[in-house]
């Protein structure tokens, strides 16, 4: 990229929206520090703390809301995003607090996301992560892939071209379960690309997701949710249209 391109990139803004469980072990400090180290983007971070303890001092300035009682993640995100002028930002990144980002994550990740025009994207998960869907595990030997699936967490990004179609999040599934099978339908309807960035995998190994949810109950909630709206079945969602090495 030439110097004028660099300058243009410097002007683009990215909003990080994170939720962290303040009463439990979490990596919010490291995650937010990694984001703030970006050289290519102007980064704004808005974190919500869930739990009774006060935020650590280093997180206090980034914490825009403190909630002592649990609120479903996607209701919370909608509430927060309602207060933001979305189109001030090129990308919004939604992050959980239990991941480890590789050094230089944001610049490398968004460079690939923007290069491939992924409107909805996620980093792959490292091999040693807790993985619900093997499809999102890092594929060695490639940098990124155009897919029909992006998972609702622990971290995903939305380009501004997707805001009108994905936001606000569908509150019929307040925890987000099943959204990831509906998003590809919306994305394809509106000509948006989805993708996974394998070159910048995140480790998701602090908390085992099923340990925190009733798996059977979440599956039923998801199936009920999906039954009422167009979606892709797994066999069609877990599909690579193109890969990039």
């Amino acid at each position: 990229m030439n110097s004028s391109g660099e300058t243009l990139r410097q002007m683009l803004r990215v909003l990080i929206v994170g939720i962290y469980l303040v009463d439990k072990e979490n990596f919010a400090v490291d995650i937010s520090r990694e984001f703030s180290g970006s050289k290519d983007w102007t980064v704004e971070q808005q974190w919500v703390s869930l739990g009774e303890n006060p935020p650590k001092p280093v997180m206090a300035s980034l914490t825009v809301q403190r909630l002592e009682t649990p609120v479903p993640k996607f209701l919370l995100l909608n509430r927060l995003l309602k207060t933001v002028n979305l189109y001030d930002f090129e990308y919004i990144i939604i992050s959980d607090d239990d991941i480890v980002l590789p050094p230089g994550f944001l610049d490398s990740y968004l460079a690939r996301v923007s290069h491939h025009n992924f409107a909805i994207a996620q980093p792959a998960r490292t091999h040693d992560s807790y993985i619900d869907h093997p499809f999102v595990e890092q594929l060695d030997g490639i940098d990124a892939r155009w897919t029909r699936f992006v998972e609702i967490g622990p971290l995903f990004s939305l380009h501004r071209s997707a805001f009108d179609y994905i936001l606000p999040f569908d509150e019929a599934s307040p925890m987000g379960w099943g959204n990831d099978f509906v998003w590809p339908v919306l994305a394809e309807k509106h000509g948006l690309k989805m993708g996974i960035v394998d070159a910048m995998p995140v480790a998701h190994s602090l908390r085992k997701p099923v340990a925190y949810y009733d798996h059977a109950s979440s599956a039923k909630t998801m199936n009920d949710y999906l039954a009422g709206r167009p979606h892709l079945p797994k066999k069609d969602a877990f599909f690579i249209l193109e890969s990039y090495a």
């Binding site: 091999h127 499809f135 594929l139 060695d140 030997g141 892939r145 979606h231 066999k235 599909f239 090495a245």
Partner: protein, 334 residues
Amino acid sequence: MPDRSLSTERSTAAPLLSVVICTYNRAPLLAQVLESLCEQTLPTERFEVIIINDGSADDTEAVADSYAKKLPLRYFYQRNAGLASAKNHGLFASQGDLVFFMDDDDIASETLLEEHVKTHLKFPAQHYAVLGYTALDPEISQNPLMYFVTEVGCFLFSYPSLKHGDILDYSYFWGGRSSCKRSFLLEHGVFNPVFRFGAEDLELGYRLSKHGLRVIYNKNAVSIMVRKISFDAFCHRLERQGSSNYVMSRLHPEPEIQRWAEIVDLDKNWAMINGHYDAIVESARHLDSIANLKLVSGFDLDDETRYLTYRGYWAAFKACKLKGIVKKRSLHDE
């Protein structure tokens, strides 16, 4: 309630078969494999070919290009990452209800794909996979080593004990000649990328066995191996296989896997070989040379030469595999 998913559900009478070929620096062989897929009795609208180029530095891409108009083919490139990663890449790039992992050095008989599909139609439940038969090309079937590793010592394939229609366990989910329902893998597990060569198929099969995997043997689903493996190449192959065996044994501590991986009595067995390893391999190499020289010179192999050569192979290949296990263990322990 009607299914509102966007699934382009095909009739179960006509499932789509994805043929996944992972390849590394074998462009001339790949051309032969693709040529054989142009001659299938299964109509081209019933299958697709997915090529995963695992970082080849040769003409693999050009070969794939040259078949793009003759076959329903999609080509993917990855930096060299090994067989398990490449297979996962292919699995996820597949659109088929069925996925057939085919080796890049096996030529398809005309009915190969049709036979795989026929067996799946007969056994439509998700947990049934299909194992085809791989024969040796007549050009290499008389080669003493190739004959030994397929018909006698069964270091490469162990078909002699199988009967058409056998319903087998996970240990027959052999890479390069097996097909399965794509959804079954998506739901229950994919290849472990830690395996760059060897054991990736068995390891996945073992995990899938917890979800009921069974393998149907169809001897009429024939592919033909055309690549002759030299003695030294086979020794190297077994060393790598041994290394993968050790990894498998670490992942699955169950006794049956320890036995399969030859970890049981490893120290005792290696102690018998260790001091003689070079002599064992050199002796077998020498016997292999003599046997081949006789054949090239127009002589038949007499029983004594054949017996001695096979004994040499047996000892050398066992030793190479154990060496691979022991080497990997020492690396792990460091």
